[in-house]
Symmetry: C2
Subunit: 269 residues, 2 copies
Amino acid sequence: MINSYQKITIVGAGNVAWHLAPALEKAGCSVVQVYGRQSEKARALASQLKQTQVKTDLDFSDSSAHLFILAVSDDAIAEVARQIKLSEESAVVHTSGGQPMDTLTAAPTQQIGVFYPLQTFSKQRAVHFKTIPICVEANNKELLDELTKLAQKISNQVQAINSQQRAVLHVAAVFANNFTNHLLRMAEQLLHDRQLDSTLLHPLIQETISKSLEISPAQSQTGPAWRNDQKTITHHLDYLQAYDPSYAEVYRALTGHIQSLFTDKFGTD
Amino acid sequence: MINSYQKITIVGAGNVAWHLAPALEKAGCSVVQVYGRQSEKARALASQLKQTQVKTDLDFSDSSAHLFILAVSDDAIAEVARQIKLSEESAVVHTSGGQPMDTLTAAPTQQIGVFYPLQTFSKQRAVHFKTIPICVEANNKELLDELTKLAQKISNQVQAINSQQRAVLHVAAVFANNFTNHLLRMAEQLLHDRQLDSTLLHPLIQETISKSLEISPAQSQTGPAWRNDQKTITHHLDYLQAYDPSYAEVYRALTGHIQSLFTDKFGTD
């Protein structure tokens, strides 16, 4: 029996679509259509695939696909769900970490869900889907099973995650991705402005992350805040205050938060 | 001619000494003595080496070593420099990123310097010295040359860095290491408290760092703060405020700092 979910339409031609569509095809699915508001982007993506129709409108009434994956920006999900035309036996899922499943309720089908690959995607960087966690959710058991099976074709890490949990994952991802990246930017800027080569910090950064992931961040914490080295902290703050007061502010916020864990560390009451 | 700097005494038996002493020996140096306040730690380190005397006092008047590497905690450097006894032809260096060279002025020698391996060390983790930047400094050209040659025996990344520059490196390392690790801890805690598996974020974290180091953090920045997605930011802050107001504070500080770069991004004036 041919699994009907293996015929898929990808709505969107951005970073997620760019990586997801070929991964699905490699896993034996047929990506029958790709939609892009900008036809060049959709064409570029379709040209990476076997037999994929390029669509620039949202009328999929005649589509042979049974699963529609909305890989569009968070803001566009509800609007696309409202506008899309498709057979009511179809299922529609989005790929967002930041949006609940209900964002799709306006879609003209009873079957909605989420297919969220927890990774940061850029067109110019290859990704290995096998290692990317895929979080699935659906409003019925049958669709959840289908999405799980589909996800398992491309990834070794598939989990059923509901919208509330996914929202927490999304907040945590902001800390783990956006904020850490920004701290690396601040560190780089500090070196840059003193004509220091920013690659000097690269081995430290790599070891920091490896250690944190292997041992756990709680057991890897070091530094002046953690050992309550007030002399060094004052020294650093003096430098940063003169360099850029906003850097001192970030330093103070994070140092303060690290020190707030002292109650746990030293058991002060 | 035998290079006299190849006879080395390591003062300290902590994490830096633990990795540095064997690396120097492997590079052909002779670690003639290891000092540790706690004799067991010094003995444990010496047992990893070929022919190394264990010392628990700071009288090195009869030592054959010409270079003394003080791999002790920042707080202890000045005190050890004051107490140490050695031939005045010897050179003394410390291994700290956070302390200026002058911390050693009390040492009974005219030759002082710094030999700072820019990495985070833990006894249980192997390190590859070849990739670790070593920042050297000395109060005379001859010692600087010797330290440079010595560092080049164990590392491919050796740079002369003065005390002012090293202080900036040290501040930047707090951002790149201590603060990023703490953010990973916060992310993990968020997941933990919702019974979510923290390894879900590992592929994202790995890709975040790889991308940031390969492309540059400035070009890798994404997220609600960067795209000024006020709806998502409010959503996240509401969640964090209820979860733990101190998390909301850190979120606000970093989001605010990312947004302060908008002037650059959008060129608002």
